[in-house]
Symmetry: C2
Subunit: 771 residues, 2 copies
């Protein structure tokens, strides 16, 4: 039963917003590259579109002008580059160009099959002159062969025979999307690439190599077409005629093919892309991978894709019964995470994955706090890659720390591709130093989930110690407490504050674990390399321990809540009635510094702290804080609701938990944030996963082990999912009255359910409890 | 004895920095326009220069790109425009071009005569071929006829006769200075003007009209030359030959003049400039004023200039005996204020006056807190003009308040020319809301000093009430106090803080006086107009009174100081030993947000509050605060030391007071801040004046009257100055042991000396007291 794995939209309206959103929703990606789901034949010229193909981690520099120049304010940023256009294919049937905005669309559907790993756009079109044809276009970004993108374009004339002319474009004449009104995409049209070579290779492949104008990178794409009739591959020039025109910036291939009524003709367009971050000679690499690609029939690659996904879903299995919509949404979200996530240490996972240009392809804390949990629990090798990227950019984070005035340690950039800070607005960008704590938290969680000590020895401990050093230098012992000043927590409507509760907790955890790893490495005689590399010393570690112990964690006794920061409670109350909350983020019509003066939150902040450090405060404090902040949160960030949902579960607010989960799960599918056109919200997608595993199932990973608090929403019959805990694959099934843990692979493990310890579990069924 | 009024520098080194600084120090201005003291003949092309002529209040717009677009962040600024070049005059003697960088400079001096109101550059030059000539160039920016600038260029061949060829330039081909490294001047070369007309008028004048590219303004300049031998004016073409070449952007006049050994020939170049802010038809206006100008001999205008200055110095008299250097510096500073200050409501006084392009010609709080006191006490009509400018831009301040989220009232821009905010960096720009309080404070002080109730009725009360409204909307009653959050006080190294002591005091004063004026207007039946215009109501005024009364004014009992803001004392201490304080502002090598995290001040903040509101706290608190903040202040702002000096006087620290005063007084003359090349520091100059009047003489203007605490530095024999108090001209003479107050004009007035009241004083001598 694949029903929960097929995402489908039927019907064609031609509405601009719908087209844009579908470009995102039906994009193809494999973590290495992504192609927006644009129409091969293009839209009418006045119809907005973000037409793009991106490579993860491949960037150009562009100016980020500061209105005033100040020391250390970045004046250059990286931008994920639209690399090539190889998806454009313009079909003309008997002299009439296929165009859904002309003639009549008789049938139309778009399908993403998450077990096949392909998208399909199928339509029946009647031309202005009455010719009817069925077109079925299948696209794939291969997980097996990461540089490979395929378009299988099938044409079936329904009421005529004659000639089909396909003009297939391979173009380097591309630029990034430009909308001067939107701060979340690049603010001005900038040329990023220069076409350096256009050629036909000795094999007859079409090849373009482009160079970035400022970042010193280059990238090559190779395109090959094959044409099939129902009887098999057609030869050229006997079966069809091919013409190639090499222009200044593009290569256009025109395929003239005889077609017969009711007989399908198929054009397969292979694109292989290789960039200079991964390959020394991009032209050679692309050629080589293309030879490999066309050596096998397309079905071979389809099969590889299905095999890859079978393995993926086997580990990532998650099924809800009794709520088909949510079941599908959840699969959609996890599939998008897989499409988006980088597969090597040169890249990570963008806030919008590879599905659009929002946030310019940058990587944020979203990775560690929202996405690493899914991968740590289901595909640890991917999580390890994500964290290895942070180790890969550690030198840049060290350099950043020096600029910011810290003599030792590392400070990770708030948003980046190559490791350098790209945040142009410090208060809700670079000031979010908690990214250091977040990365350390993710390293520790990854270690606690997987037990991968080897990663800690080789990379993790270094990350955790270098980040800890920054906290220690930053903070101040004052009146018996260790304080952190002038930083911004997750809530971007309260910036540059003192003793943000979330920040102080993550910093405390960071320093405590730096000390912990130090002692563990020392005990095991594995400290020498790190001592030599970063000069870590006992006295420093004692400092970490003291600072962690004395960390100021704000608590208001009267309200029994944790104040978000030291002045939050003294701020004015926001008038939620006056603000039309439905019209998008309030920052779009309020000066940011006005918002900072109010008790209004963009997103979960203290509530997020309560989720990840549930033992740092009393349950009553969590409950009161939840109520307090929920009333004051706009959820203008897509990172907010999923967290509120998880903590609602923890607090036994089942209906609320479900509502938050429901909203988060469908956020992109329903375009609830009104910006899915710019790309998917990968953090929210990871948050959806956490909504089940940390929310309904109540998992918390602590030093002592794995803690579960299973529950189930009223709306569901059951849900089942698989987790990889310290190498063991566990299947958990929660029904309306019980929770069953079953070991599928690996050694028996100890778990805690409702606070009770169950050692060496291989199978365990427990009745659900209410609280 | 004019000695204290002649500022002179002898000798020519050709050193770049010296040339640049002297361009500033010897600039000519009259409040309407300013001309940098560039060499008429130019420097060698590789020698940096800021060659400019500026008109006060005349601006173009330019982009101020934000790295991220956010609601209400200004993306356009005004820039004071370099208008024309009419100072360029290239002299060739017998085929050898006069050039101080060639041949030999035998004598060289530059002189500013502050009673004549002219600058002179005089030199004796020997050409590479041995020709010697004495050149004496006198320049004047006429106070009598504001559009008029004159250059009197006298040539005396010392050892030859022959031909002098003067190529005199009238050019619209000008641009502003561009140094990409300096945040205090514009960051990129931008063309601001387009030459629209070049012509010879019917009178034979050379005329150029230019239009700003974006601000919709235009400006005309008219140039006329006259040539004189010792025997009188020379005719053309009999006495000399004139050729005019009209180019695309400039008009060059070549004067070929026979010269005789030891006989002086003089070329007088008149420039008249008129802009469209003041004149409807700028060409006609400039022509008309030129007709007026050339109708009189130059000596007539020189005499007008001297008369004007005689009146100025009569009121502004200030003499120190026993310290010639300081006496001269002080005169220099006051003269610069007169040169810089706008003479109509369309303009104000720039941070750099009209002497350079630093801060792009913008007006800041410098006006109200540092410069208005001098004018209020000596030339009240100028002070009234400065404050009328604030009334003139009140509608812009209202619009700004709306953008910032305030439904009522006005918020003045931190830096502006036309009234719109030009601050590109909010934390140490727009966040300095205290500018509202500063303007209200200056209005009240002006009223208390002059008794000009009419100004309050027509403009002042409206300003004070509209600014008060902003505070009331901004603040928050919390736990019995009225609090002001997320604002920046004067100290730009502690930004966006809560309850900054200075800000809260000025806001308190602002709201209290809004209520006060309301009651006074009501009592006198003069409220109706204002009620109608701004809808001020009794209930609102009661709100002001309550907020003022409950204003939170931070006090630390243990230290007996006023904390600068609510978190200042909990911040880290700055390591002054580690920082090389002599190399310029620490912000040049520290990230600003790092500085915010330390107890380090750029300038006087709480100490300034203590100066202007000395009754708001105990004397011990002032003393302890002074000591506390002095240790933590870098004085990286030129607005700092003068204030520390004044409060040092108040606290009886005579030596310290003298040192601060001495440093401030000579700041530009000695280029102590290393940036006088960008222009003079007008605020500091006003601060110097306050250093005597508020410092040594101890004047405080309060609701109850004029309070004096006379003292004299050890280094001086005596000092004497004049003050205009409620229309009465008072001369105050302080010797080593006494202080004499003498009424020169007007009615007897009541004063307080050392806290004791002396009613109806016409003459009063009091022995100096120590404290």
């Amino acid at each position: 039963m694949n029903q929960g794995f097929v995402f489908r939209k039927d019907g064609f309206t031609g509405a601009e917003q719908e087209l844009l959103v579908n470009e995102t929703l039906f994009h193809n990606a494999n973590g290495y590259f992504g192609v927006r789901g644009n129409f091969e034949e293009r839209y009418p010229s006045d119809c907005p579109t973000v037409r793009g193909q991106y490579v993860n981690g491949f960037y150009n520099f562009s100016d980020m002008k500061q209105p005033e120049k100040h020391y250390g304010f970045p004046e250059q940023k990286q931008t994920m580059v639209n690399t090539f256009d190889t998806q454009t294919m313009v079909l003309t049937l008997e002299g009439e160009q296929v165009d859904l905005f002309q003639g009549t669309v008789l049938e139309f559907s778009r399908i993403l099959d998450m077990k096949k790993g392909t998208t399909v756009r199928r339509f029946v079109w009647e031309s202005p002159k009455g010719r009817q044809a069925e077109i079925c276009i299948t696209r794939m970004a291969s997980f097996q062969l990461l540089p490979l993108f395929t378009i299988e374009y099938q044409i079936t004339p329904l009421n005529f025979s004659g000639t089909a002319v396909m003009e297939s474009v391979h173009s380097g004449d591309v630029s990034n999307y430009f909308n001067p009104k939107d701060s979340r995409v690049a603010g001005e049209k900038i040329i990023h690439l220069r076409v350096a070579d256009l050629e036909s290779t000795e094999e007859g492949f079409s090849l373009i190599r482009s160079e970035t104008l400022r970042s010193g990178l280059d990238i090559a794409s190779v395109v090959v077409h094959k044409v099939y009739a129902e009887t098999g591959e057609l030869g050229c020039p006997n079966g069809y005629v091919r013409e190639r025109r090499i222009g200044d910036k593009d290569i256009v291939e025109t395929l003239t093919i005889p077609v017969e009524e009711r007989k399908a003709v198929t054009i397969v367009k292979y694109t292989v892309t290789c960039d200079s971050i991964r390959y020394e000679n991009v032209k050679e690499a692309a050629r080589k991978w293309m030879i490999t690609s066309v050596d096998k029939p397309l079905n071979y690659w389809y099969q590889c894709q299905a095999d890859y996904l079978e393995k993926f879903w086997e580990k990532a299995k998650i099924e809800i019964t009794g709520d088909e919509e949510l079941n599908l949404s959840l699969h959609y979200n996890l599939y998008q995470l897989l499409q988006s996530v980088g597969k090597d240490e040169y890249c990570n996972i963008g806030a919008k994955g590879l599905s659009g240009e929002g946030y310019e392809g940058h990587y944020f804390w979203d990775t560690e706090m929202y996405i690493v949990p899914f991968f740590s629990l289901t595909q640890p090798e991917v999580a390890r890659n994500l964290l290895s990227y942070r180790h890969h950019i550690l030198d840049r984070a060290r350099a950043n720390a020096r600029v910011m005035g810290y003599p030792k340690g590392a400070l990770y950039p708030w948003r980046t591709i190559n490791g350098d800070e790209c945040s142009g607005y410090y208060p809700s960008g670079s000031a979010q130093y908690h990214i250091n704590g977040d990365i350390a938290y993710a390293v520790v969680q990854y270690y606690l989930i997987t037990g991968d000590w080897n990663f800690i020895v080789s990379k993790g401990a270094e990350i955790v110690m270098e980040t800890a050093r920054m906290w220690y230098d930053l903070g101040n012992f004052y009146q018996g407490t260790f304080q952190l000043h002038d930083l911004t927590g997750p809530d971007e409507y309260s910036c540059v504050v003192n003793n943000n509760y979330y920040t102080n907790l993550t910093a405390q955890h960071n320093m405590a674990w730096a000390a912990q790893f130090y002692h563990m490495l020392k005990e095991q005689g594995q400290l020498a390399a790190l001592e030599e590399k970063i000069g870590i010393e006992e006295a420093e570690v004692e400092g970490f321990e003291e600072a962690a112990e004395k960390m100021l964690l704000l608590y208001d006794e009267k309200l029994d809540i944790n104040p978000q920061d030291d002045s939050f409670l003294s701020k004015k109350e926001w008038d939620f009635n006056q603000e039309k909350k439905t019209n998008g983020p309030i920052m779009q019509w309020n000066h940011l510094y006005r918002l900072y003066r109010y008790q209004v939150c963009k997103q979960a902040d203290t509530v997020l702290a309560h989720m990840i450090f549930e033992d740092a405060q009393k349950l009553s404090t969590m409950k009161n804080s939840f109520d307090y902040y929920e009333k004051r949160t706009t959820h203008d960030s897509s990172l907010s609701r999923c967290i509120f949902g998880i903590v609602a579960s923890k607090l036994g607010m089942k209906e609320k938990a479900y509502e938050y989960f429901d909203f988060s799960s469908k956020l992109d599918i329903l375009d609830s944030q009104h910006n899915t056109k710019d790309g998917i919200h990968t953090a929210n997608m990871g948050g959806t996963y956490m909504g089940i595993v940390y929310g309904f199932l109540g998992l918390r990973v602590k030093k002592r082990g794995f803690f579960f608090m299973p529950s189930i929403p009223e709306q569901w019959n059951s849900y089942q999912l698989r987790l990889q805990l310290k190498g063991s694959l566990i299947e958990v099934t929660v029904t309306k009255d019980s929770c069953r843990f079953q070991l599928l692979q690996g050694e028996q493990i100890t778990i805690f359910v409702y606070g009770r310890e169950y050692p060496a579990v291989s199978e365990l069924t427990i009745a659900l409890e209410e609280w």
